[in-house]
Symmetry: C2
Subunit: 304 residues, 2 copies
C-alpha cells in the first residue's frame, strides 16, 4: 500500500537507482533497428518494435542489479499507439523480471478524469464484468497543480492495488524555479508547499519503512533544495532525476538520502541507455553489457 | 501559427463551443457496444472499437454546427494502447470532417521530453527519413508547472505546423484553489501569474484576430476569476471547461468573452455525449441526434 516494494528492491540489490527507459531511435544500435524494420517496415510500428527490443536487452542486463525502471511515456507516445503498445509490452516484461516499474507520465486532471488515468496506469479497467490491465505499472508520476481532487483518485487506486505515486515537487529543469521557487505570502516556496501536501496526502498510504506511498520528484540539479526537502518531509520518498546527462553528480544526490541510506531512488536515463555509444571501439551488440557496466559504476559511485 | 483556425471555425458556425469526447462505456448505447464486441470480443479492443464508433456518430451529427472536439486522453488510455488507437482514429476522423481537434492531455515535462510530447500530439515524428503523424491534433492542453522549458518545445512545434496550445491557468475542479489561488509575495495569485506567463509566451505565436496560439484553461465554475483573467489577458484565448455537468451555467461563462463575443470556447462533454440518456423514451439509435439537439440548445443559450 505504498512504495514498500520499491524499497525492498533497493535493499535487496543494495542499489538506490532506477534506469530510465526513454528510448529515442538514435540511442538504439543499428542491428536492432534493421531487424525491426525488416519485419514491420520503416514505420511507426517498426520503430516501436525497435524500442521494445532495445528495452528487452536492457532489462535482461539490469534486472538482477537495478531494482526499478522508469519508462518515460512521451518517448512512446511519439511513435503513436504503436509506441504506446511498446510501452505496455515494456512494462509487462520488466515486471516479469521482478523489476519495479515507474511510468513517468506526469499525469494530472480533475477528479473524474484522474480516476481514468489511475485505472489506466496503475489499476484495472472493467469491460462488461471482466477486469483488464491497461498498463498497470507499479507507480506513476503525477503533477498536482490541480490540488487534492487530482491526487485522491490515485490514492484510492494505490490503496486497492498496492501501488505508489511520485508528485512533482522541485523538478530538475533549468526553468523549474520560475513558478516552483516563487515565495508565497506565508514565506514558503511553492515547491515546499507542494512537498508539505505530499506529506499530508501520504498519511493515507503509510509504509512499513517509514515512507508513504506518496513520493516526490526532486531534481539532482538543485542539491540545496534536495537537502531542505529531505529534512522537511520525513515520510516522503524521493525520485531524483537529473543525475548524469542533466548535470547532477554523486555529491549532488547525497542530500536526498536519510541517515540509513534510504529515502531516495536516483534516476539515470541517457547515461545507462547510451553507455555503448561512448566507446567507438565497442561492438554495438554489447550495448546491454555497456549499460550494465554503467549501472554498476553509478551504483558504486552513489553508495560509496 | 496560432488558434486562428479555431477562431475561424467559431465565426463560421457562430458557435463558441467545443464538444468534449470523453467516452465511458456507460455513455455508449448498447447496440454500438454489442456490435463492437461481436467483432472484437468483450476486451480492451472491443471496448475501444465501441468508443470509436460512438465518436463517429457524434462527429457526424455535430461537425456542421460545432467547430471543435476535445478528446480527453485519459478515457482512451484507460483502454490501453487499443484505446489510444481509438484516440488516433477519432482525431483523424474529426479532422476529415473539418473539425478543430484539441487533445486534452495536460502534458508536461522537461524540455527534451516535452519535445517528444509536442511531436507526438501536434507535430510529426521522423523514422529514418520519413515523417509520420503520431496523433497530430490541432491543439494540446499543457500544464506549465515546470516553467518555460516545458512550453518552449510546444511553441516551436506550433510555429512549424500551425498548431496551438492551452495552458492550465485556473482549473474548474473544487480543489483548484489549494495551489492556484495562493497569493505570491508580489500579491498576485498563482493562477494570475500563470496567466501572465501565457501572455508572454503567446508573443511568439501572434494571431490575426488578436489572440495568440497560447491559450489558457479557465474553469466556468469560477466566473469571477474568469472575468478578472479576460481583462488581464487580452491576447489569450480561453478554453472553458466546467459548463454543464460540473455546475457552470450560461451566465457563468459570459465573463470569458470579449466585447466582440470572441475570446473563448466553452466545453461540454457529458452534457452532449449523454443527452440521449436523459430521455428514457428515446430510441438509443438516435443518440447522435440527441447530442446535436443539446449542442444547438447550448449554442443558443450561450450566444443569447
Amino acid at each position: 500500500m505504498s512504495l514498500d516494494r520499491l524499497i525492498e528492491g533497493i535493499k535487496k540489490t543494495k542499489n538506490p537507482t532506477v534506469a530510465g527507459l526513454d528510448p529515442k531511435l538514435s540511442y538504439i544500435p543499428e542491428y536492432i533497428k534493421e531487424e525491426a524494420y525488416s519485419k514491420f517496415g520503416r514505420t511507426l510500428e517498426g520503430a516501436s518494435e525497435a524500442l521494445y527490443q532495445f528495452n528487452v536487452g536492457l532489462i535482461d542486463a539490469l534486472c538482477d542489479i537495478v531494482p526499478a525502471v522508469k519508462p518515460q511515456a512521451a518517448y512512446y507516445e511519439m511513435y503513436g499507439w504503436q509506441g504506446v503498445r511498446a510501452l505496455k509490452r515494456t512494462i509487462v516484461y520488466a515486471k516479469s523480471k521482478g523489476m519495479f516499474v515507474i511510468t513517468d507520465g506526469k499525469r494530472n486532471d480533475i477528479g473524474t478524469t484522474m480516476e481514468a488515468y489511475a485505472s489506466a496506469h496503475l489499476g484495472e479497467v472493467d469491460v462488461e464484468g471482466t477486469n483488464f490491465e491497461a498498463f498497470a505499472a507499479d507507480a506513476l508520476t503525477v503533477n498536482a497543480y490541480l490540488g487534492t481532487d487530482g491526487v485522491k483518485p490515485v490514492l484510492n487506486v494505490c490503496k486497492k492495488y498496492d501501488k505508489g505515486m511520485f508528485i512533482l515537487v522541485k523538478t530538475s529543469n533549468p526553468s523549474s524555479g520560475e513558478l516552483q521557487d516563487r515565495i508565497l505570502d506565508d514565506t514558503k516556496t511553492i515547491y515546499r508547499t507542494m512537498g508539505d501536501m505530499c506529506e499530508k496526502w501520504g498519511e493515507e498510504l503509510p509504509g512499513k519503512y517509514g515512507y508513504s506511498g506518496v513520493g516526490a520528484v526532486v531534481g539532482a540539479t538543485y542539491p540545496e533544495q534536495l537537502g531542505e526537502l529531505r529534512k522537511a518531509l520525513p515520510h516522503t520518498f524521493f525520485l531524483v532525476p537529473g543525475y548524469g546527462a542533466q548535470g547532477g553528480g554523486a555529491k549532488d544526490v547525497l542530500p536526498a538520502f536519510d541517515e540509513n541510506g534510504l529515502g531516495a531512488v536516483i534516476n539515470s536515463s541517457r547515461g545507462i541507455m547510451c553507455a555503448w555509444q561512448k566507446d567507438p571501439s565497442l561492438d554495438p551488440r554489447n550495448y546491454a553489457q555497456a549499460a550494465r557496466n554503467e549501472a554498476v559504476r553509478m551504483r558504486d559511485e552513489i553508495t560509496a
